[in-house]
């Protein structure tokens, strides 16, 4: 279908040659890097600042501001780390961005490196992303061979090395400080902040950590300018965002949309509507860790502010769609079980609370639920939210709180009926 805006990150997705250096260069690749080399590091930071580019990894922190925090007079090296751990359930846009256009990430990393005077940039890849690592390794080799990376970037005399590091399969290693521990060879558990990574990050040195998508926006910003970047999106959430749509839709997949685009447009125009034309029941706007919303929220704009107002978050913009045959308690069980499994174990509420919540939810699903289980679930939501060391447990709490908030009857029905009220009906209607 034809889009109502000019795509940015996905504009060359139809061109398979983009996976290689030649294809990328033919489309103007690495020109942004040349431009950056001609600029002062402060100017690079300024352009990114004025573009209003916000972090795409979940928290939406302004990228330029983050780069600007890096102290340059500590006598220590500085580091750039690209966060390609992408493990939030429902999220796979970083993956496709890299698979189709790996050099854009490397170019973004190199520019970030120039902006903060970094000579070694690390690329932390989710352990399960074997193919994507291979794509990146190949791209890195090409970029070195062509002189876009290495000791003398494009003949400038500046050094930028890119080191790829594969994780070992832990959701928590996407959390930036756990990632740093993992990168240093330690246990993937988050670190205390402050000190923030910008001041004391990798190897106790100033470090910028950005999501893959964040970094991939950078080359265009340098070439086309901050004003151009702001042409799409909203005032506070400029630019486009990759959304991953999965679940009960006709056409699941990754789509690029200007920030602020309503969920309705994404669902109906891009993803082809709810599967089989059924009724929308619930959806997560930004992965399972963001509070789920309902059909009432169809017209909410997908941007940081609108979603916050609706009581949720943009997160990773991973939209999971549930229809009226889906049991919310079942979904919550699966999600909470995931967070329980991925809890790094460091802090009590997350480690014990998510484990307990899983027990209770499984019991409800199994038809063993008891009346006291509902107050326990409510307490668990309260006692997990903002009580843990890192935001992982807030995700767990969000699942519990939002599902309880929007679908209290469904929880009660599980207790009352001794099992899932949807199961029987659902089974009957699934086509053979």
């Amino acid at each position: 279908m034809s889009l109502w805006f000019e795509p940015r990150l996905t504009r060359d997705w139809d061109d398979p040659s983009m996976i290689g250096l030649d294809g990328y260069v033919a489309k103007g690749g690495y020109e942004a890097l040349s431009k950056a080399l001609a600029m002062t590091d402060a100017d690079i930071v300024d352009v990114v600042k004025s573009s209003g580019l916000r972090g795409r990894g979940g928290a939406g922190f302004p990228a330029g501001m983050k780069w600007g925090f890096v102290p340059r007079d500590t006598g220590k090296p500085t580091y750039v780390v690209a966060n390609f751990d992408e493990s939030e359930p429902g999220t796979c846009n970083n993956r496709e961005l890299v698979e189709r256009d790996p050099h854009r990430l490397l170019e973004g990393m190199a520019i970030a490196a120039l902006a903060i005077g970094c000579e070694t940039a690390y690329l932390y890849v989710r352990g399960e992303y074997l193919w994507q690592s291979m794509v990146l390794e190949r791209a890195i080799a090409q970029a070195y061979a062509a002189g876009h990376l290495g000791p003398d970037v494009q003949g400038s005399g500046k050094r930028v090395d890119v080191v790829l590091h594969r994780g070992a399969g832990a959701y928590i290693c996407g959390e930036e400080t756990a990632l740093l521990n993992s990168l240093e060879g330690f246990r993937g558990q988050p670190r205390l902040r402050p000190p923030f990574p910008a001041v004391e990050g990798l190897f106790a040195s100033p470090t910028v950590i950005n999501n893959v998508e964040t970094l991939m926006n950078v080359p265009d910003i340098l070439v086309r300018g901050a004003e151009w970047f702001r042409e799409l999106g909203t005032e506070k959430s400029p630019g486009t965002k990759m959304v991953t749509v999965s679940g009960k839709v006709e056409r699941p997949g990754n789509f690029e949309v200007p920030l602020g685009t309503s969920f309705r447009i994404v669902l109906e125009e891009l993803a082809g509507g709810v599967l089989g034309g059924r009724a929308l029941k619930a959806w997560t706007p930004g992965g399972s860790s963001t509070p789920m919303l309902t059909a009432e929220h169809l017209d909410v704009g997908l941007d940081y502010e609108s979603l916050a107002e609706a009581g949720s978050m943009l997160g990773t913009a991973a939209i999971m769609v549930m229809d009226d045959t889906d049991c919310v308690v079942d979904c919550a069980t699966r999600m909470v079980r995931f967070y329980a499994h991925e809890s790094c174990g460091k802090c009590t509420p997350c480690r014990e609370g998510s484990w307990w919540a899983t027990r209770v939810l499984e019991r409800l699903e199994d038809g063993q639920g008891q009346a006291p289980d509902l107050p326990i679930m409510r307490d668990l939501g309260t006692n997990l939210m903002f009580r843990a060391f890192c935001a992982l447990a807030d995700g767990t709490a969000s699942v519990i709180n939002s599902s309880l908030q929007h679908f209290p009857d469904e929880y009660e029905a599980h207790v009352r009926l001794g099992g899932c009220p949807l199961k029987v009906e659902h089974l009957e209607e699934v086509p053979a």
Binding site: L192, G345, T348, W356, N383, R387, F389
Partner: protein
């Protein structure tokens, strides 16, 4: 007023604390106890348990008080004044108890458990948890000393952080994640840290337990006394727990000036010695078949012999300051001899005098705090982890704060990960020190150490182990390095109260306060208090005393709280001395190895039953209190000396410990030392010796008497005897790692397994002093080093013999 004071209110009370103070610490100052599990004042904040939530005005979320530093004007509400904080704490406790086994009735921690206390104070009365708890096999031994019950563990990471941040040996780690997370140790590894017991003490629940204490007592069964550890010169403050008269546990007592909150495993687990089967509680007389006698009988008998014969005194480093003082005075003013010594065979020169005088000159003294804050530390001739373990931890703490640490030692020490080591053949330290003193240029170890010390602005620290004093000039040279670079200087003796003995003048040429017998003015200062000192010539040192005994030049030898058969670095001479001396008086707490030689035994009370002071390596004199009554008619050593003086018709001048201490204090007050150190004429280049130098020192856990009965400790940490040799030397001799070798010195020979390792200096062979299988003093002739030859025991089974021609090519490198 602290630097950068910050004023805030906690529960409506105002408090002012230094900048950077954590809320939880600030609250403590107001007497407000915020519940905590993972927080520990000596560990970096973790924020793991989430028990310590408080409300900070203006902050939307609750804050963990153990991770957040105070800010000016901050308004903090703890569980006492904030419902939200209290609710969060109660909820967290519920989480912690979900999987907790609640086996308090059989838990060693029961009755003194923070989790139990908090659950009792404000936990939910009943559990809402109805599922199956997580179970683990329990307990699993981490070592023969430490058991781990993972069901009880609250995963606070205190133990793992201790291993990481404090001892640096990283044995314990968290494994796995989510609800399956647990503390563990690498497969096949043992928790072989000499500091392992600290993890037990700081574990906030009964997850880590001490095997020797397992099921032994309940806190309400115990009576406790504050004491100071007797195992080395670190001076660690301890609490001794006694159950029905038997010592059952030793715990660290916090003292930030000395041991912080730590002790080593020897101090913690070697406590059965005073109750060992050989304990003597009355005098015993050989002529009566070692039958019990009274002091009333034995002292006049002894007095008679002392009056008519030539007398000498040998002691060790483990009596109280007061005992040493009484002994020094007894020998000098009643018996009339200067033949007394507490050392083995070291001659510390001026460095020793400086230590004995407890100089007022702060440049020439070092405290733990000085070490902690030093930007540069030079350590010579000391394996701190094995010899003075808590000093080792303090050096690590300094290193963690950024101190540069330089170690000159023939064997790699456990500071290797935080220090630069210069492996130096024993005896060659003087050459290194000389180059540091000269301040040679370049990039060498010596040049960097010298430059660092000079650049430390007077806060550098030079620490010298007493072993260095084997070389007649080495310790003084180190003192000269300190003087020249403006560094503080510490002479580190090893045994618990060597320093007290030195200060009191249990020494052939030093009187109390480091006053020299041979210097008239200094001697007169002592005589002003004591009256006349009967013999004016310097006496015999330990080696000479034993030689004189062997030569039948001594009629009465007192061996007091020492076992020269094990400790003196010349076993053969000691044996002859003991056999040849007329009367051997053994003043001890036990029969021990001297039993076959002793004419009489005088029953001394062990430290646990005594009152008095001990002086640690810093020169800090600390009071210890008895934790139980003396057994039988055993009594403190000083009382025995006073009794003997009385029996000889004299009077030491004090009847109570207080009187003694008062008199002693006047002579032991720190003194100004007029002289600067000797000028050293230059050592010249080191000579490469063709033969190998054997060197030895005691490892922390060995066959030493005070570890008798500490079976679990030995099982955990004691190695059987071995020898270590550098690969270059091993290769030349065709010796492979693991083969049995015969060590031959002028004094004797021994067979031990060989370890080939780069961690000893080339040209040297290390054997531990007193491990099972070898008493190294059988290889020594009065020094801790000796020339040695090493050969494979069984030529057939060893590697192929190397032709002599290969040997003749000299050092490989």
């Amino acid at each position: 007023m602290p630097v950068d004071p910050i004023t805030l209110t906690i529960d409506d009370k105002e408090v002012t604390v230094p900048k950077g103070t954590l809320i939880i610490r600030a609250a403590e100052q107001l007497g407000i106890e915020i519940p905590r599990f993972c927080d520990h004042p000596y560990l970096a904040p973790a924020g793991a348990c989430r028990q310590c939530y408080v409300q900070v005005e203006g902050q939307g979320k609750l804050q963990t008080s153990c991770t957040v530093a105070v800010a000016p004007g901050m308004v903090v509400r703890t569980q006492n004044t904030s419902d939200a904080a209290r609710q969060a704490q109660v909820a967290n406790l519920e989480f912690l108890l979900l999987n907790h086994p609640l086996d308090c009735p059989i838990c060693d921690r029961g009755g003194e458990c923070p989790l139990q206390d908090q659950a009792l104070a404000f936990g939910p009365g009943e559990s809402r948890f109805i599922d199956a708890k997580r179970v683990f096999p329990k307990p699993v031994p981490l070592s023969p000393l430490v058991g781990l019950d993972r069901e009880r563990c609250v995963l606070c990471a205190r133990c793992t952080r201790f291993c990481d941040e404090i001892s640096g040996d990283r044995f314990l780690e968290l494994f796995a994640r989510s609800a399956g997370e647990r503390v563990s140790i690498a497969a096949g590894e043992d928790f072989r840290s000499p500091f392992s017991g600290n993890t037990i003490q700081i574990c906030p629940v009964g997850a880590l337990t001490a095997t020797p204490y397992r099921f032994v007592a309940r806190p309400f069964d115990l009576t406790s006394g504050d004491s100071v550890c007797q195992h080395c010169s670190a001076g660690c403050n301890v609490r001794v727990d006694v159950r029905r008269g038997e010592v059952v546990r030793v715990l660290a007592r916090e003292n930030p000036d000395v041991n912080d909150a730590w002790i080593c495993d020897k101090g913690r687990f070697a406590y059965r010695h005073a109750d060992a089967p050989g304990r003597i509680t009355t005098p015993l007389i050989r002529d009566r078949g070692l039958e019990p006698a009274s002091f009333g009988e034995i002292l006049p008998w002894l007095a008679e012999r002392c009056r008519s014969g030539r007398v000498a005194f040998l002691t060790g480093g483990r009596l109280m300051d007061e005992d040493y003082y009484a002994l020094s005075k007894l020998a000098r003013t009643v018996v009339g001899t200067n033949d007394l010594d507490h050392r083995r065979a070291f001659h510390g020169g001026l460095a020793e005098v400086v230590a004995a005088a407890a100089v007022t000159d702060r440049e020439r003294s070092v405290t733990y705090r000085d070490v902690e804050h030093a930007p540069v530390i030079l350590l010579v001739g000391l394996d701190a982890e094995q010899e003075v373990p808590i000093l080792h931890l303090r050096i690590r703490k300094a290193a963690a704060r950024g101190a540069k640490v330089f170690v000159v030692h023939p064997r790699r020490t456990r500071l290797h990960d935080v220090a630069e080591h210069l492996p130096t053949r024993p005896g060659h330290e003087v050459f290194v020190l000389d180059r540091i003193r000269e301040g040679v240029d370049g990039e060498s170890f010596e040049a960097r150490a010298a430059a660092a010390l000079r650049g430390a602005g007077g806060s550098g620290v030079v620490l010298v182990g007493e072993r260095l004093a084997e070389h007649p000039l080495a310790a003084d040279l180190a003192l000269a390095v300190a003087s020249k670079t403006g560094s503080r200087f510490g002479y580190v003796t090893r045994r618990a109260n060597d320093r007290g003995a030195l200060g009191a003048g249990v020494h052939p040429s030093l009187l109390p306060g480091g006053r020299r017998l041979g210097v008239a003015g200094e001697r007169a200062e002592v005589e002003a208090v004591w009256g006349s000192i009967m013999a004016s010539e310097d006496g015999r040192d330990a080696q000479e005393i034993l030689q004189a005994c062997a030569d039948r030049l001594v009629d009465v030898l007192f061996v007091i709280g020492a076992d020269p058969l094990r400790d003196h670095p010349d076993a053969a001479l000691t044996r002859r001395a003991l056999a040849n001396v007329g009367t051997l008086v053994v003043q001890s707490i036990e029969l021990g190895d001297l039993e076959p030689f002793a004419s009489v035994f005088l029953p001394a009370a062990p430290a646990a039953e005594k009152d008095g002071h001990v002086t640690d390596w810093e020169g800090r004199s600390q009071r210890i209190r008895p934790v139980r009554d003396a057994l039988g008619i055993s009594r403190p050593d000083w009382e025995i000396f006073a009794g003997l003086a009385a029996a000889m018709g004299s009077d030491l001048g004090f009847e109570t410990l207080e009187e003694l201490h008062e008199e002693m204090a006047s002579l032991l007050a720190p003194r100004a030392m007029p002289e600067r150190p000797n000028v050293w004429a230059g050592a010249g280049p080191p000579q490469w010796l063709d033969d190998l130098t054997l060197f030895t020192y005691p490892l922390l856990v060995d066959e030493g008497r005070l570890s008798d009965g500490a079976e679990e400790l030995k099982a955990a940490l004691e190695d059987p005897a071995f020898a270590e040799m550098h690969p270059v030397d091993a290769e030349k001799r065709g010796l492979a790692d693991g083969v049995d070798v015969r060590l031959t010195t002028a004094a004797g020979d021994a067979t031990v397994p060989l370890r080939v390792t780069e961690h000893v200096a080339a040209g040297s062979v290390f054997v531990p002093f007193n491990q099972p299988g070898l008493a190294a003093n059988s290889l020594l002739s009065g020094r801790s080093t000796a020339s040695v030859t090493v050969a494979a025991v069984d030529e057939g089974s060893g590697p192929e013999a190397v032709p002599d021609a290969a040997l003749a090519t000299g050092p490989a490198a």
